[in-house]
Amino acid sequence: MSSTSFAVAMLTLVLLSVSHFFAVDSKLSDVDIRIADILDKAKNLYMKGVNVTDVVRKLDEVVELYECGDIDRARDIFNDTEVEVLELEKIADNVYRSIVISKAITIAFLVSIPVAVYYFLPRVYLYIWFKLRRRWLVRG
C-alpha cells in the first residue's frame, strides 16, 4: 500500500470514528426546509430551557397534515407555530437567566451543607443534650 492510499484510509477511519451519521440525502422539499427552519429555532429555545413541547407537537401535526394532503390546515398551523416561536424567543433569555440563577442558588446551598454541618451540628447537639437533661440532679 502506498503512503497516499494509507493516509486516505487512515483519514477515512478517523472520519468514521468521529462522525455520528454517514450517508446523506440532499433531495429536499420546500416543506422540509420550512419545518427545519422553525425546528432549528425550537432547538435553540430548548437548549435555553424553554418548554417547546407545544411547538414540537404542532410541527408534527403540520407534517402529518401535509402528508395527508390537507395543505391549507397544515399552512394555518404552521403560521401559528411561527408566531408561537417568535413569542417564545422573546422570553428565552429570561428563562435561561432564571435557570442559571436557580442552578447557582442550588450549588451555593449544596456547598453550604458541609460548612453548616461543621459549624452547627456540635452546637445543636449540645443544646439538645442539655435541654433533655435539664431536670437531672447531680448527687455527690
Binding site: L16, H20, F21, F22, A23, V24, D25, S26, K27, L28, D32, I33, I35, A36, D37, L39, D40, A42, K43, Y46, M47, V52, T53, V55, V56, R57, L59, D60, V63, E64, E67, K103, T106, I107, L110, V111, I113, P114, V117, Y118, Y119, L121, P122, R123, Y125, L126, W129
Partner: protein, 168 residues
Amino acid sequence: MVGEGIDLVLDEEVFAVILAISIIASALGIALTLRPMVSEPFTAIGLLNEDCRIGEYPKKTVNGSSLRLCIYVANYLGYPAYFKIVYRIATNRSLPNTTTPSPKPILVEWRTVLGNEEEKKFPTAVPVYRVGNETRIALVFELWVFDTDKNLWVYTGRWTHLYIDVEV
C-alpha cells in the same frame, strides 16, 4: 474540634463520619446539578406488529399485497428533531448497515417531528412484492434525521428489517 464542652458530648469520630457523609452528599448533589442534559445521545427505530406490539409478525404474504405493521421511533438526541422513516424492499445482499443505507429504491416515506425523550408508534400498511426471482425478501425501514445546520437528510445508521416469504 469546635469546643471542649462539645468534645465531652459528641464523639469526635462520630462527628467526622457525619461531616464526611455531608461532604459526599454535597459533592454528589453538585455533580447532578451540573451534569449535561444528555450524556449519550441516540435515536431508535423498531418494528412492531399491526397491534403495535412486539412479536407475532407475519411470516408470508401474497405478491403485490400490502402488509399492516407498526413503526416505533424514539428521539434521545438531547433536542427536538425532524425524522423520516424510509421503506425499501431489499434482499440479503442489499441490506443497509450502520454506515450505508440500502441501495434499493425508496417505496414509502413517513416524516415526524419528535421532542427530546419522545417516542412515537404509528400503524401503517406497506406494499410487498417480489424482487427479481427472490421469494424471501426483507422489508427494510431506515431512520433518517434532518441536519438543520447543513439542511440535508442524514442517515442515522439505525434500521430494522423483517424477512418475509412472498407467494405468487
